[in-house]
Symmetry: none
DNA sequence: TCATGTCGTTCATGATATTAAACACCCGGA
DNA sequence: TCCGGGTGTTTAATATCATGAACGACATGA
């Protein structure tokens, strides 16, 4: 999911070759010129989204797939509460279950928000999904601009891409057990 | 996903507004002009990949996330405790978060085991991984023949293939919040 | 009422993407 | 040797994008 420095040209070239297409073949199927594909692959131009889409249609591959594509014993089972790694910042306590496990498919957290605590102004946002159940106290959760206050037994589940923020508006501590997949931590 | 007919303009607008940014704010953060964002959102131009990337950097969001994000299928996010579907059998209560969501990558459960309750003689075993945190009371968990009693704040995480069983040996109710991926329910 | 600020839109112009055609290279066959 | 057909690359002309500044509409307050 790292397209920070995605090299569109090299990426397109790799994809094209994986499908066994020449620049001219692909150009013909995509309805563009072979020269354009050459220029794109050399990063001498940054194609418009519409023309990149046309090119990918000739493969065929979606824009989402193009940008998503990545080219690049017996574990412990039980964890005492004190063994959970605290990865929280500031006053918020985030205790991660199984931090030492090499390849997890989820992050399970035991979270505690003191009264007034929140996850900060900066918006949290990452791939995958997350959900949780409020165990104690009350939390105000804002997802994609929509806010709601949840109490004990209430729950949430959303795509982590949506901007979200947790805030404890009261004075009593709030505890949550949450999970996210793929793992955030 | 679905970017067959992706409307880049409307999509950008929705994302921008979701993050509470004006065209000018976003333009400033992205290092482009507000006019360009206006034109893109009206689909009067198809931005180059490089300028779309600049714009998304101002949010911030990756190209992959932008093209992957599904806005049409915006699902419910918040669930009151009474809305959680009880899928338990016998005396054990299993409340599933987001049972109505079409495609989840996890099952998140709020579980309650009355005193003496257990998950039955037959051993549970399925693909994937699961973990959880004990919220209240005590539970005896047996995984691959190894048993341990966990109290509030204690946790577990294991591959679901390992035979496992939950039992409440005491008289007080025991509550757990758990997650499994891929979803069991 | 007028001033100030922010919103999104528009337009002329300069910058860049895209085309069409030519170019250089390599290979297998006459 | 030279030809035809396959690569990918380059160039000049054209189409499109991106900028900077101005615009009208809508708020908030003095």
């Amino acid at each position: 999911m790292n397209d920070m420095n995605i090299d569109v040209g090299a990426h397109l070239k790799a994809v094209r070759q994986m499908y066994g297409l020449s620049q001219r073949e692909l150009a013909k199927r995509a309805g563009v010129t072979n020269g354009l594909i050459s220029l794109i692959e050399q990063n001498r131009v940054s194609p418009s989204v519409s023309s990149l889409k046309k090119v990918l249609d000739g493969i065929p591959m979606t824009l989402a797939d193009f940008f998503t594509l990545d080219l690049a014993g017996r574990s412990p089972v039980f964890f005492a509460r004190d063994e959970l790694a605290d990865i929280g910042t500031g006053s918020v306590e985030l205790r991660l279950v199984g931090s030492q496990l090499p390849k997890r498919s989820m992050s399970i957290l035991h979270e505690r928000y003191p009264g007034g605590a929140d996850t900060g102004d900066e918006v949290l946002s990452h791939a995958g999904e997350e959900g949780g159940v409020v165990v104690k106290g009350r939390i105000e959760l804002t997802v994609a601009g929509e806010a709601r206050t949840l109490g004990p037994g209430d729950a949430y589940y959303f795509k982590s891409l949506l901007p979200h923020r947790f805030r404890n508006p009261g004075t009593e501590d709030c505890e949550i057990v949450s999970a996210s997949s793929p793992p955030t931590f």
